[in-house]
Amino acid sequence: MNLKGRNLISPLDLTVQEMEELFGLAERIIAKPQDYSEVCKGMMLATLFYEPSTRTRLSFEAAMLRLGGQVIGFSEPGSSSVSKGESIADTIQTIASYADIAVMRHPKEGAAFVAARRAGIPIINAGDGGHFHPTQTLTDLLTIRLEKKDFAGITIGLCGDLKFGRTVHSLMCAFARYSGVKFVLISPDELRVPEYVLDEINEFEEVRDLRDALPKLDVLYMTRVQRERFFNEEDYIRLKDSYILNASKMKKAKPDLMVLHPLPRVNEISTDVDNDPRAFYFRQTKNGMYVRMALLMALLGKEI
Protein backbone atom coordinates (compact mmCIF):
# COMPACT_ATOMS: atom_id res chain seq x y z
CA MET A 1 0.00 0.00 0.00
CA ASN A 2 1.44 3.33 -0.99
CA LEU A 3 -0.87 6.09 0.12
CA LYS A 4 1.87 8.46 1.28
CA GLY A 5 1.02 12.06 0.45
CA ARG A 6 -2.43 11.22 -0.92
CA ASN A 7 -5.74 12.84 0.05
CA LEU A 8 -9.00 11.16 1.04
CA ILE A 9 -11.76 13.43 -0.25
CA SER A 10 -14.17 11.02 -1.94
CA PRO A 11 -14.89 7.36 -1.12
CA LEU A 12 -13.74 6.63 -4.65
CA ASP A 13 -10.23 7.96 -3.92
CA LEU A 14 -9.26 4.53 -2.57
CA THR A 15 -9.26 1.36 -4.64
CA VAL A 16 -10.86 -1.77 -3.20
CA GLN A 17 -7.38 -3.20 -2.67
CA GLU A 18 -6.24 -0.07 -0.80
CA MET A 19 -9.32 -0.21 1.43
CA GLU A 20 -8.67 -3.89 2.15
CA GLU A 21 -5.08 -3.10 3.08
CA LEU A 22 -6.26 -0.33 5.41
CA PHE A 23 -8.70 -2.74 7.07
CA GLY A 24 -5.89 -5.25 7.46
CA LEU A 25 -3.70 -2.62 9.12
CA ALA A 26 -6.60 -1.54 11.37
CA GLU A 27 -7.06 -5.16 12.47
CA ARG A 28 -3.36 -5.45 13.29
CA ILE A 29 -3.63 -2.25 15.36
CA ILE A 30 -6.69 -3.64 17.20
CA ALA A 31 -4.72 -6.81 17.99
CA LYS A 32 -1.58 -5.03 19.27
CA PRO A 33 -2.15 -1.29 19.76
CA GLN A 34 1.01 -0.93 21.86
CA ASP A 35 3.15 -1.69 18.79
CA TYR A 36 1.89 1.51 17.16
CA SER A 37 2.15 3.93 20.06
CA GLU A 38 5.10 5.86 18.64
CA VAL A 39 4.87 5.43 14.87
CA CYS A 40 3.75 9.03 14.31
CA LYS A 41 6.05 10.59 16.91
CA GLY A 42 7.01 14.10 15.82
CA MET A 43 4.10 14.37 13.38
CA MET A 44 1.26 16.85 13.75
CA LEU A 45 -2.40 16.59 12.77
CA ALA A 46 -4.52 19.72 12.22
CA THR A 47 -8.25 19.32 12.83
CA LEU A 48 -10.28 22.00 11.03
CA PHE A 49 -13.91 21.68 12.04
CA TYR A 50 -16.13 24.35 10.56
CA GLU A 51 -19.13 22.39 11.82
CA PRO A 52 -19.88 20.70 15.14
CA SER A 53 -18.63 17.17 15.64
CA THR A 54 -18.16 14.89 18.62
CA ARG A 55 -17.19 11.45 17.38
CA THR A 56 -15.28 12.26 14.23
CA ARG A 57 -13.10 15.01 15.68
CA LEU A 58 -12.36 13.21 18.92
CA SER A 59 -11.67 9.93 17.17
CA PHE A 60 -9.18 11.62 14.85
CA GLU A 61 -7.53 13.33 17.81
CA ALA A 62 -7.47 10.10 19.79
CA ALA A 63 -6.09 8.25 16.76
CA MET A 64 -3.19 10.69 16.32
CA LEU A 65 -2.39 10.80 20.04
CA ARG A 66 -2.42 6.99 20.25
CA LEU A 67 0.09 6.93 17.39
CA GLY A 68 2.39 9.21 19.37
CA GLY A 69 1.66 12.32 17.30
CA GLN A 70 0.30 15.71 18.26
CA VAL A 71 -2.86 17.64 17.40
CA ILE A 72 -3.73 21.29 16.75
CA GLY A 73 -6.89 22.80 15.35
CA PHE A 74 -10.24 24.46 15.94
CA SER A 75 -13.64 22.97 16.62
CA GLU A 76 -15.77 25.93 15.60
CA PRO A 77 -15.05 28.58 12.98
CA GLY A 78 -15.98 31.40 15.38
CA SER A 79 -12.70 30.87 17.23
CA SER A 80 -10.53 31.26 14.12
CA SER A 81 -9.87 33.76 11.32
CA VAL A 82 -12.65 32.06 9.39
CA SER A 83 -15.03 34.31 11.33
CA LYS A 84 -13.26 37.28 9.70
CA GLY A 85 -14.14 35.90 6.28
CA GLU A 86 -10.89 34.11 5.46
CA SER A 87 -11.17 31.74 2.49
CA ILE A 88 -10.55 28.01 2.77
CA ALA A 89 -7.62 28.34 0.38
CA ASP A 90 -5.89 30.92 2.62
CA THR A 91 -6.65 29.06 5.86
CA ILE A 92 -5.33 25.75 4.59
CA GLN A 93 -2.11 27.24 3.24
CA THR A 94 -1.39 28.68 6.67
CA ILE A 95 -2.24 25.46 8.51
CA ALA A 96 -0.11 23.45 6.08
CA SER A 97 2.96 25.31 7.26
CA TYR A 98 2.37 24.02 10.81
CA ALA A 99 0.99 20.51 10.38
CA ASP A 100 1.91 17.36 8.46
CA ILE A 101 -1.67 16.30 7.72
CA ALA A 102 -5.09 17.88 8.13
CA VAL A 103 -8.65 16.71 8.59
CA MET A 104 -11.50 19.01 7.62
CA ARG A 105 -15.25 19.17 8.17
CA HIS A 106 -17.22 21.90 6.42
CA PRO A 107 -20.92 22.59 5.74
CA LYS A 108 -20.27 23.24 2.04
CA GLU A 109 -19.93 20.39 -0.45
CA GLY A 110 -16.53 20.22 -2.12
CA ALA A 111 -14.78 22.23 0.63
CA ALA A 112 -12.19 19.52 1.34
CA PHE A 113 -11.52 19.22 -2.39
CA VAL A 114 -10.73 22.94 -2.55
CA ALA A 115 -8.45 22.59 0.48
CA ALA A 116 -6.65 19.59 -1.01
CA ARG A 117 -5.75 21.51 -4.15
CA ARG A 118 -4.01 24.23 -2.15
CA ALA A 119 -2.62 22.45 0.90
CA GLY A 120 0.50 20.57 -0.14
CA ILE A 121 -0.12 18.17 2.77
CA PRO A 122 -2.59 15.24 2.85
CA ILE A 123 -6.18 16.36 3.45
CA ILE A 124 -8.86 14.06 4.86
CA ASN A 125 -12.51 14.92 4.31
CA ALA A 126 -14.36 14.50 7.60
CA GLY A 127 -17.69 15.46 6.04
CA ASP A 128 -18.57 18.11 3.46
CA GLY A 129 -22.23 19.16 3.65
CA GLY A 130 -24.56 16.45 2.43
CA HIS A 131 -21.93 15.09 0.06
CA PHE A 132 -19.38 12.58 1.41
CA HIS A 133 -17.90 11.35 4.67
CA PRO A 134 -15.34 8.74 3.57
CA THR A 135 -13.79 7.96 6.97
CA GLN A 136 -17.23 7.07 8.37
CA THR A 137 -17.43 4.66 5.44
CA LEU A 138 -14.11 3.08 6.42
CA THR A 139 -15.55 2.70 9.94
CA ASP A 140 -18.78 1.16 8.63
CA LEU A 141 -17.02 -1.27 6.30
CA LEU A 142 -14.48 -2.33 8.93
CA THR A 143 -17.36 -3.03 11.35
CA ILE A 144 -19.19 -5.15 8.76
CA ARG A 145 -15.97 -6.90 7.75
CA LEU A 146 -15.08 -7.83 11.34
CA GLU A 147 -18.51 -9.43 11.79
CA LYS A 148 -19.38 -10.88 8.39
CA LYS A 149 -15.79 -11.62 7.23
CA ASP A 150 -16.82 -11.31 3.57
CA PHE A 151 -18.92 -8.71 1.76
CA ALA A 152 -20.05 -11.01 -1.08
CA GLY A 153 -23.81 -11.51 -1.26
CA ILE A 154 -24.63 -8.96 1.43
CA THR A 155 -27.97 -7.15 1.18
CA ILE A 156 -27.74 -3.79 2.88
CA GLY A 157 -30.74 -1.59 3.61
CA LEU A 158 -30.19 2.14 3.99
CA CYS A 159 -33.06 3.84 5.74
CA GLY A 160 -34.13 7.42 6.38
CA ASP A 161 -32.71 10.58 4.86
CA LEU A 162 -30.87 9.24 1.82
CA LYS A 163 -30.81 12.58 0.02
CA PHE A 164 -28.74 14.67 2.39
CA GLY A 165 -27.00 11.85 4.26
CA ARG A 166 -23.29 12.13 3.51
CA THR A 167 -22.52 8.87 5.32
CA VAL A 168 -25.08 7.11 3.12
CA HIS A 169 -23.60 8.50 -0.11
CA SER A 170 -20.05 7.53 0.84
CA LEU A 171 -21.01 4.06 1.98
CA MET A 172 -22.98 3.32 -1.18
CA CYS A 173 -20.22 4.51 -3.53
CA ALA A 174 -17.55 2.48 -1.73
CA PHE A 175 -19.61 -0.65 -1.05
CA ALA A 176 -20.92 -0.83 -4.63
CA ARG A 177 -17.44 -1.69 -5.84
CA TYR A 178 -17.54 -5.04 -4.05
CA SER A 179 -19.23 -7.68 -6.18
CA GLY A 180 -22.50 -9.22 -5.06
CA VAL A 181 -23.58 -6.38 -2.77
CA LYS A 182 -27.28 -5.47 -3.08
CA PHE A 183 -28.86 -2.23 -1.88
CA VAL A 184 -32.38 -1.70 -0.55
CA LEU A 185 -33.04 2.04 -0.33
CA ILE A 186 -35.76 2.85 2.19
CA SER A 187 -36.89 6.48 2.19
CA PRO A 188 -39.76 8.81 1.44
CA ASP A 189 -39.83 10.18 -2.12
CA GLU A 190 -38.59 13.56 -0.93
CA LEU A 191 -35.42 12.04 0.52
CA ARG A 192 -34.36 9.61 -2.22
CA VAL A 193 -30.68 8.99 -3.04
CA PRO A 194 -29.32 11.67 -5.41
CA GLU A 195 -28.61 10.77 -9.01
CA TYR A 196 -24.82 11.11 -8.73
CA VAL A 197 -24.79 8.32 -6.14
CA LEU A 198 -27.27 6.08 -7.97
CA ASP A 199 -24.99 6.31 -11.00
CA GLU A 200 -22.31 4.48 -9.00
CA ILE A 201 -24.38 1.45 -7.96
CA ASN A 202 -25.72 -1.50 -9.93
CA GLU A 203 -28.14 -3.69 -8.02
CA PHE A 204 -30.71 -1.79 -5.95
CA GLU A 205 -34.39 -1.38 -5.20
CA GLU A 206 -36.14 1.63 -3.73
CA VAL A 207 -38.95 1.07 -1.22
CA ARG A 208 -41.02 3.26 1.09
CA ASP A 209 -41.52 1.11 4.19
CA LEU A 210 -38.89 -0.26 6.55
CA ARG A 211 -41.20 -3.05 7.80
CA ASP A 212 -41.49 -4.67 4.38
CA ALA A 213 -37.77 -4.51 3.66
CA LEU A 214 -36.45 -5.65 7.04
CA PRO A 215 -36.71 -9.48 6.70
CA LYS A 216 -34.35 -9.65 3.69
CA LEU A 217 -31.56 -7.48 5.09
CA ASP A 218 -28.13 -8.59 6.33
CA VAL A 219 -27.16 -5.04 7.33
CA LEU A 220 -29.45 -2.13 8.18
CA TYR A 221 -27.94 1.35 8.05
CA MET A 222 -30.21 3.78 9.88
CA THR A 223 -30.20 7.55 9.51
CA ARG A 224 -32.44 10.21 10.94
CA VAL A 225 -35.37 11.67 9.01
CA GLN A 226 -35.37 15.31 9.96
CA ARG A 227 -38.67 17.13 10.21
CA GLU A 228 -37.30 20.21 8.45
CA ARG A 229 -36.49 18.19 5.33
CA PHE A 230 -40.18 17.63 4.55
CA PHE A 231 -42.13 19.98 2.35
CA ASN A 232 -45.28 19.65 4.40
CA GLU A 233 -46.23 18.60 7.90
CA GLU A 234 -48.79 16.03 6.71
CA ASP A 235 -46.16 13.97 4.92
CA TYR A 236 -43.87 14.09 7.93
CA ILE A 237 -46.58 12.86 10.30
CA ARG A 238 -47.62 10.16 7.83
CA LEU A 239 -44.10 8.86 7.29
CA LYS A 240 -42.10 9.48 10.44
CA ASP A 241 -42.95 6.20 12.17
CA SER A 242 -42.05 4.20 9.06
CA TYR A 243 -38.44 5.16 9.64
CA ILE A 244 -38.15 4.43 13.33
CA LEU A 245 -36.61 1.10 14.27
CA ASN A 246 -37.89 -0.49 17.48
CA ALA A 247 -37.85 -3.86 19.21
CA SER A 248 -41.18 -4.80 17.67
CA LYS A 249 -39.88 -4.29 14.13
CA MET A 250 -36.65 -6.15 14.99
CA LYS A 251 -38.71 -9.34 15.46
CA LYS A 252 -39.08 -9.48 11.67
CA ALA A 253 -35.35 -9.20 11.04
CA LYS A 254 -32.78 -11.95 10.44
CA PRO A 255 -31.06 -13.31 13.57
CA ASP A 256 -27.66 -12.18 12.25
CA LEU A 257 -28.73 -8.72 11.08
CA MET A 258 -26.29 -5.92 11.85
CA VAL A 259 -27.86 -2.55 12.73
CA LEU A 260 -25.49 0.36 12.06
CA HIS A 261 -25.95 4.09 12.56
CA PRO A 262 -23.35 6.87 12.02
CA LEU A 263 -24.64 8.60 15.21
CA PRO A 264 -25.73 10.88 16.74
CA ARG A 265 -29.08 9.17 17.10
CA VAL A 266 -32.19 11.13 18.02
CA ASN A 267 -35.25 8.90 17.97
CA GLU A 268 -34.87 6.86 14.77
CA ILE A 269 -33.67 3.85 16.78
CA SER A 270 -35.65 3.26 19.96
CA THR A 271 -33.58 2.65 23.05
CA ASP A 272 -35.30 -0.76 23.38
CA VAL A 273 -33.05 -1.91 20.50
CA ASP A 274 -29.79 -0.93 22.25
CA ASN A 275 -29.39 -4.20 24.15
CA ASP A 276 -30.21 -6.37 21.13
CA PRO A 277 -27.00 -8.20 20.09
CA ARG A 278 -27.73 -7.10 16.53
CA ALA A 279 -27.19 -3.44 17.49
CA PHE A 280 -23.68 -2.52 16.38
CA TYR A 281 -23.87 1.27 16.44
CA PHE A 282 -21.95 1.83 19.65
CA ARG A 283 -19.35 -0.83 18.84
CA GLN A 284 -18.81 0.98 15.52
CA THR A 285 -17.30 4.03 17.17
CA LYS A 286 -14.20 2.26 18.51
CA ASN A 287 -13.53 0.79 15.08
CA GLY A 288 -13.63 4.36 13.78
CA MET A 289 -10.63 5.30 15.87
CA TYR A 290 -8.62 2.25 14.76
CA VAL A 291 -9.32 2.68 11.07
CA ARG A 292 -8.42 6.37 11.36
CA MET A 293 -5.14 5.36 12.99
CA ALA A 294 -4.50 3.12 9.98
CA LEU A 295 -5.42 5.92 7.59
CA LEU A 296 -3.19 8.52 9.28
CA MET A 297 -0.28 6.09 9.21
CA ALA A 298 -0.82 5.29 5.54
CA LEU A 299 -1.16 8.90 4.35
CA LEU A 300 1.94 9.88 6.37
CA GLY A 301 3.88 6.92 4.97
CA LYS A 302 4.34 5.39 8.41
CA GLU A 303 3.29 1.83 7.74
CA ILE A 304 5.00 -0.92 9.68
Partner: protein, 140 residues
Amino acid sequence: MEINSITNGIVIDHLRAGSGLKVLDYLNIDTELGSVALIMNVTSKKHGKKDIIKLENLESVDINVLGLIDHNATVIHIKNEKIINKTKLSLPEKVTNVIMCKNPRCITSIEAVPNIFRLADSSGKYRCEYCDNFERIHKP
Protein backbone atom coordinates in the same frame (compact mmCIF):
# COMPACT_ATOMS: atom_id res chain seq x y z
CA MET B 1 -25.55 40.80 -48.19
CA GLU B 2 -21.90 40.28 -49.02
CA ILE B 3 -19.13 39.64 -46.54
CA ASN B 4 -15.55 39.44 -47.68
CA SER B 5 -13.62 36.23 -47.05
CA ILE B 6 -10.84 36.23 -44.48
CA THR B 7 -7.16 35.51 -45.03
CA ASN B 8 -6.21 33.95 -41.71
CA GLY B 9 -8.57 32.98 -38.93
CA ILE B 10 -11.69 30.99 -38.04
CA VAL B 11 -15.17 30.85 -39.52
CA ILE B 12 -17.93 29.44 -37.32
CA ASP B 13 -20.62 28.40 -39.74
CA HIS B 14 -24.08 26.84 -39.45
CA LEU B 15 -24.85 28.50 -36.14
CA ARG B 16 -28.52 28.37 -35.24
CA ALA B 17 -30.13 31.61 -36.45
CA GLY B 18 -30.23 34.09 -33.59
CA SER B 19 -27.54 32.38 -31.49
CA GLY B 20 -24.56 34.34 -32.85
CA LEU B 21 -24.60 37.06 -30.19
CA LYS B 22 -24.71 34.47 -27.40
CA VAL B 23 -21.78 32.61 -28.98
CA LEU B 24 -19.72 35.79 -29.20
CA ASP B 25 -20.49 36.50 -25.58
CA TYR B 26 -19.26 33.02 -24.51
CA LEU B 27 -16.09 33.33 -26.62
CA ASN B 28 -15.17 36.50 -24.73
CA ILE B 29 -12.95 37.71 -27.55
CA ASP B 30 -10.32 40.40 -27.14
CA THR B 31 -11.22 42.50 -30.18
CA GLU B 32 -8.00 44.50 -29.97
CA LEU B 33 -6.17 41.46 -31.35
CA GLY B 34 -8.20 40.96 -34.53
CA SER B 35 -11.41 41.59 -36.44
CA VAL B 36 -14.79 40.02 -35.77
CA ALA B 37 -17.77 39.77 -38.12
CA LEU B 38 -21.15 38.51 -36.99
CA ILE B 39 -23.59 37.79 -39.78
CA MET B 40 -27.12 37.01 -38.71
CA ASN B 41 -30.07 35.43 -40.49
CA VAL B 42 -28.16 34.40 -43.59
CA THR B 43 -30.11 32.18 -45.99
CA SER B 44 -28.92 28.58 -45.74
CA LYS B 45 -29.78 25.77 -48.13
CA LYS B 46 -29.67 23.22 -45.32
CA HIS B 47 -31.10 25.11 -42.37
CA GLY B 48 -33.24 27.87 -43.88
CA LYS B 49 -31.56 30.58 -41.79
CA LYS B 50 -28.26 30.58 -39.97
CA ASP B 51 -25.71 32.84 -38.29
CA ILE B 52 -22.01 32.98 -39.16
CA ILE B 53 -19.06 34.36 -37.19
CA LYS B 54 -15.75 35.25 -38.82
CA LEU B 55 -12.67 35.82 -36.70
CA GLU B 56 -9.73 37.38 -38.53
CA ASN B 57 -6.29 36.77 -36.93
CA LEU B 58 -7.85 35.24 -33.84
CA GLU B 59 -6.77 31.61 -34.22
CA SER B 60 -6.13 31.15 -30.51
CA VAL B 61 -9.77 31.58 -29.47
CA ASP B 62 -11.00 28.62 -27.36
CA ILE B 63 -13.86 27.24 -29.40
CA ASN B 64 -14.43 24.09 -27.29
CA VAL B 65 -17.09 25.86 -25.28
CA LEU B 66 -19.16 26.27 -28.46
CA GLY B 67 -20.12 22.62 -28.24
CA LEU B 68 -22.31 23.53 -25.30
CA ILE B 69 -24.23 26.22 -27.13
CA ASP B 70 -24.56 24.83 -30.64
CA HIS B 71 -22.85 21.55 -31.32
CA ASN B 72 -24.28 21.48 -34.88
CA ALA B 73 -22.02 24.36 -35.87
CA THR B 74 -18.99 23.87 -38.10
CA VAL B 75 -15.62 25.42 -37.34
CA ILE B 76 -13.42 26.20 -40.33
CA HIS B 77 -9.77 27.17 -39.90
CA ILE B 78 -8.40 29.33 -42.70
CA LYS B 79 -4.78 30.08 -43.58
CA ASN B 80 -3.72 32.17 -46.57
CA GLU B 81 -7.35 32.16 -47.74
CA LYS B 82 -7.41 28.36 -47.86
CA ILE B 83 -9.40 26.00 -45.67
CA ILE B 84 -6.90 23.92 -43.71
CA ASN B 85 -9.29 22.24 -41.29
CA LYS B 86 -13.04 21.81 -40.93
CA THR B 87 -14.44 20.31 -37.76
CA LYS B 88 -17.88 19.53 -36.35
CA LEU B 89 -18.28 20.52 -32.73
CA SER B 90 -18.95 18.12 -29.91
CA LEU B 91 -19.73 18.50 -26.21
CA PRO B 92 -16.51 19.52 -24.41
CA GLU B 93 -15.09 17.17 -21.75
CA LYS B 94 -14.44 20.03 -19.32
CA VAL B 95 -15.84 23.53 -19.09
CA THR B 96 -14.73 26.30 -16.77
CA ASN B 97 -16.96 29.18 -15.70
CA VAL B 98 -19.56 28.39 -18.34
CA ILE B 99 -21.98 26.28 -16.32
CA MET B 100 -22.62 27.61 -12.82
CA CYS B 101 -23.42 25.12 -10.06
CA LYS B 102 -27.00 25.53 -8.85
CA ASN B 103 -26.50 23.47 -5.69
CA PRO B 104 -26.79 26.04 -2.86
CA ARG B 105 -24.65 23.77 -0.64
CA CYS B 106 -21.75 23.72 -3.14
CA ILE B 107 -18.50 25.36 -2.06
CA THR B 108 -18.58 27.45 -5.27
CA SER B 109 -21.38 29.48 -3.64
CA ILE B 110 -18.99 30.99 -1.09
CA GLU B 111 -15.37 30.40 -2.16
CA ALA B 112 -13.69 32.25 -5.04
CA VAL B 113 -12.99 29.17 -7.16
CA PRO B 114 -13.77 28.56 -10.83
CA ASN B 115 -16.96 26.65 -11.64
CA ILE B 116 -15.64 23.48 -13.26
CA PHE B 117 -17.91 20.88 -14.83
CA ARG B 118 -16.94 17.61 -16.54
CA LEU B 119 -19.00 15.74 -19.11
CA ALA B 120 -20.65 12.74 -17.40
CA ASP B 121 -22.32 11.19 -20.42
CA SER B 122 -23.01 11.88 -24.09
CA SER B 123 -26.53 13.13 -23.40
CA GLY B 124 -25.10 16.44 -22.17
CA LYS B 125 -25.03 15.64 -18.45
CA TYR B 126 -22.27 17.57 -16.68
CA ARG B 127 -20.95 16.90 -13.16
CA CYS B 128 -19.72 19.65 -10.83
CA GLU B 129 -16.09 18.93 -9.93
CA TYR B 130 -16.70 20.00 -6.32
CA CYS B 131 -20.10 18.68 -5.21
CA ASP B 132 -20.94 16.13 -7.99
CA ASN B 133 -24.22 17.92 -8.71
CA PHE B 134 -25.44 17.24 -12.26
CA GLU B 135 -26.47 19.96 -14.67
CA ARG B 136 -27.99 19.07 -18.04
CA ILE B 137 -27.19 21.01 -21.15
CA HIS B 138 -30.12 21.34 -23.49
CA LYS B 139 -29.22 19.97 -26.91
CA PRO B 140 -30.33 22.42 -29.58
